[in-house]
């Protein structure tokens, strides 16, 4: 992705942010300017939530481990460089367990801001647990570092207090998938998605792109995000004789989907799901390699290895270092996303003239198009949504002992030719 594409929105956002900053300065009086002359704080407090249990635990905990890894490595080198004070300051992580509950999370975000007075506010995993933080952060004029909430409806140019660090806006994910399906002349496509911002925006994009290519899905159904029984639905879909079945869900949905699919005795020529590409080990354990064979998913780091990076560790180096610092920690896309959040914070602190939240936001905006991490090129739009960090298509191939996930599309990233229909 070229760096130039982001420059025009950048100018626009710079203007908007400038106005905001000016307003902030007027209301806050000398606060912002005083920051420069103030004594440097003893530590930078980063506040975040994690889901120690509940439906998002499998995704949230690796992400939290990734962020923790970043804190540990930074502190091992004497802290993070803060431009506002011209020196390195140690980082402290202040975190609570929200147990995947939005109401608990609401109270806890409030706690982080109003009682703990954190310097940096980082959201928990995913759209659902991030969304409740948005109004709280905006109300208290705290910049919300959104790690993996990618539902497009969460972003608004009117709200400068939010920025997506580590996951591409989900509405952009299915673009290569739609291209792949059209290139293979798949005509009968069935789409099932869990009813949440993340999955819905993917389903909408896919259906829109397919329609543009003249393909209208034979089924387009949503199920509650809590769904763990797809058996009857699978039979309803099978009645439509689809060539491709696309299921967009969270990890629990995908696990149930594959378990039901392998138990049902039904076979589809092409099956696509999200999470086998993001949390491969978990899906292999809970659904089994046989169920995953020849199905498709997204190709994301660490499967796609970005090693030429401008900041932090590349994928290969991260895979080597992470287990040393966090022994036993799960290592998957979410871990990388958490680490990536740390990198964005690190660069923002290194370039922002002050710790003022809008100044930080401005600094992050300035990084867009000029930074490549282990997730690929970092690029955000005026609303703070991530448009870089691309996703590709991968497929599971049987091997002597299990299955192997390999990128298959687009051709310039493929390591294997796609097999369609599944044998």
């Amino acid at each position: 992705m070229s760096a130039g594409r982001g420059s025009r929105p950048l100018a626009a956002v710079a203007a908007v942010l400038g106005a905001w900053a000016a307003a902030a300065v007027l209301t806050a009086g000398s606060g912002v300017w005083a920051a420069g002359t103030q004594v440097a704080p003893k530590e930078i407090v980063i506040g975040t939530l994690y889901a120690g249990s509940g439906s998002f635990a499998n995704s949230s905990m690796p992400e939290y481990a990734g962020l923790t890894f970043w804190v540990k490595t930074v502190d091992a080198s004497g802290g993070v460089y803060v431009k506002a004070y011209g020196k390195k300051i140690p980082v402290v992580l202040k975190s609570y367990d929200d147990q995947s509950s939005t109401s608990t999370a609401t109270t806890l975000y409030g706690q982080l801001i109003t009682s703990d007075h954190v310097n940096i506010l980082v959201a928990d995993f995913g759209s659902v647990l991030t969304s409740v933080a948005i109004p709280i952060a905006a109300e208290h004029h705290m910049l919300l570092f959104d790690q993996t909430a990618s539902g497009i409806s969460l972003f608004s140019p009117k709200n400068p207090y939010m920025v997506d660090t580590s996951i591409r806006t989900s509405a952009l994910w299915p673009t290569p998938l739609a291209q792949f399906l059209l290139s293979r002349h798949v005509r009968r496509v069935a789409v099932v998605y869990a009813a949440n911002d993340f999955d819905q925006s993917q389903a909408q994009t896919l259906v829109r792109l397919l329609a543009a290519g003249g393909v209208h899905p034979v089924a387009d159904t949503s199920v509650p995000t809590t769904t763990t029984d797809y058996a009857t639905l699978l039979h309803t879909l099978a009645a439509q004789n689809p060539q491709a079945v696309i299921e967009f869900g969270y990890d629990n949905n995908d696990i149930a989907w594959f378990q039901n699919l392998s138990q049902s005795g039904l076979k589809f020529p092409l099956v696509f799901t999200i999470y086998p590409g993001l949390e491969t080990a978990l899906l292999l354990k809970d659904a089994g390699p046989a169920a995953l064979a020849y199905t498709y998913t997204y190709a994301a780091p660490p499967l796609v290895a970005y090693n030429k990076v401008t900041v932090g560790l590349g994928v290969s180096a991260f895979l080597k270092e992470f287990p040393k610092v966090m022994p036993g920690g799960t290592l998957n896309f979410q871990t990388i996303a958490g680490y990536n959040t740390g990198l964005v914070i690190q660069e923002a602190l290194a370039t922002s003239p002050s710790l003022d939240q809008l100044a930080l936001r401005h600094a992050v905006q300035a990084l867009s198009g000029h930074m490549t991490t282990l997730e690929g090129p970092f690029q955000i739009n005026a609303a703070g949504a991530q448009v870089g960090e691309p996703m590709y298509i991968a497929q599971f191939f049987p091997t002597a002992h299990g299955v192997r996930l390999l990128p298959v599309y687009p051709a310039d990233h493929a390591q294997h030719a796609p097999v369609y229909p599944a044998p």
Partner: protein, 329 residues
């Protein structure tokens, strides 16, 4: 019929006694000693204590606990699905703000009216006895939740994707609105505690047949209490939604709203003004102190508390005072 033992004489003062003590003055006295201080404390608290979210949640629970008190304490019906009114109010008020662009006082009123309409629709449930009523009201709340969160209704309610009121969000004003709702709630409770109507409700609770023969319109009085209680939840729901401003169906239809409120009422003592007030302040305060990051420890204590209360103290803490002859308003 009711799980609450017939009120002891001092718990249900005769109208004559109330008049002797000064019927209207009693209401005024309660207004001065309970309503005014409570409202003043919550109005001033945000300046002293920074976590406004917590204060706001506490007020929400105060209103809900008193709402449950109206229907459970005064008439003996246990509305397990009480949160249905709360959620309905939240959605109705939010949609009035978002889709109809109503001014906020009107939108909050719309929330209350919607909840009252739902209560009207569910009026036949009052024919059911005890456990049946409780379960039926729970089913009604769940059905309402499923309706609101249904993907088929996305054009209206935005289905499972929740609503965002960020465009009309106003922290201080919505906080103030909840203070107002709390004041209204306490006023209603003071009225019930000092009026003939409140007395009639308790008579119905203890013995519907005798109440009827004494000239109380049983059906109409129950219906009024039911509507009143729904109205309070609807109002609270609307203001709550406005204040949190991003919420999902399961945020505002969360059964734990009912659960907490019931425990607060049981703990303090139903059919009084101070019981639920004290129950909420004490238990929610405790929850704040130990429960926030691991709510299960608290849930555990709640559960045990319910068991112990039902088996040993079904009239709540105030009954301990009452046994010593101290009258609790």
């Amino acid at each position: 019929m009711s799980d609450i033992p017939p009120a002891t004489p001092e718990a249900a003062p005769s109208p004559a006694a109330a008049r002797r003590a000064g019927g209207a003055p009693a209401a005024v006295r309660h207004g001065l000693t309970i309503l005014l201080p409570a409202v003043a404390v919550f109005a001033v608290a945000p300046r002293i204590y920074p976590n406004g979210a917590l204060l706001f949640a506490m007020m929400t629970f105060l209103v809900l606990a008193q709402g449950i008190n109206v229907i459970f304490g005064f008439t003996g019906y246990l509305p397990f699905g009480y949160v249905g009114f709360f959620g309905t109010g939240a959605y109705a008020a939010s949609l009035a703000l978002l889709r109809l662009h109503l001014a906020w006082p009107l939108a909050m009123l719309a929330g209350a009216v919607a909840a009252a309409l739902l209560a009207l629709l569910l009026m036949p449930l009052l024919r059911l006895s005890g456990a049946y009523f409780a379960i039926a009201s729970l089913a009604a709340a769940e059905a309402m939740y499923q309706l609101v969160s249904n993907p088929a209704l996305v054009p209206i309610t935005n289905g499972p994707y929740g609503l965002s009121l960020q465009a009309v969000y106003d922290g201080p004003v919505s906080y103030g609105a909840m203070v107002g709702v709390l004041a209204l709630t306490l006023a209603i409770l003071i009225y019930l505690r000092t009026s003939r109507f409140g007395l009639a409700l308790q008579a119905i609770r203890d013995d519907p047949a005798s109440a009827a023969t004494a000239g109380v319109d049983v059906v109409r009085s129950r219906a009024l209490a039911w509507l009143l209680s729904a109205l309070m939840a609807g109002l609270a729901g609307g203001v709550y939604a406005w204040h949190v401003s991003v919420f999902y169906p399961d945020t505002v239809f969360d059964l734990s709203f009912t659960v907490f409120a019931i425990v607060f009422v049981l703990f303090g003592g139903p059919a009084t003004i101070l019981g639920p007030l004290f129950g909420t302040l004490a238990l929610y305060g405790l929850y704040d102190a130990i429960g926030i990051s691991t709510p299960q420890y608290f849930q555990f204590i709640y559960g045990l508390l319910i068991v112990v209360l039902v088996l040993f103290l079904p009239e709540g803490l105030v009954s301990l005072l009452r046994r010593r002859g101290i009258r609790v308003p």
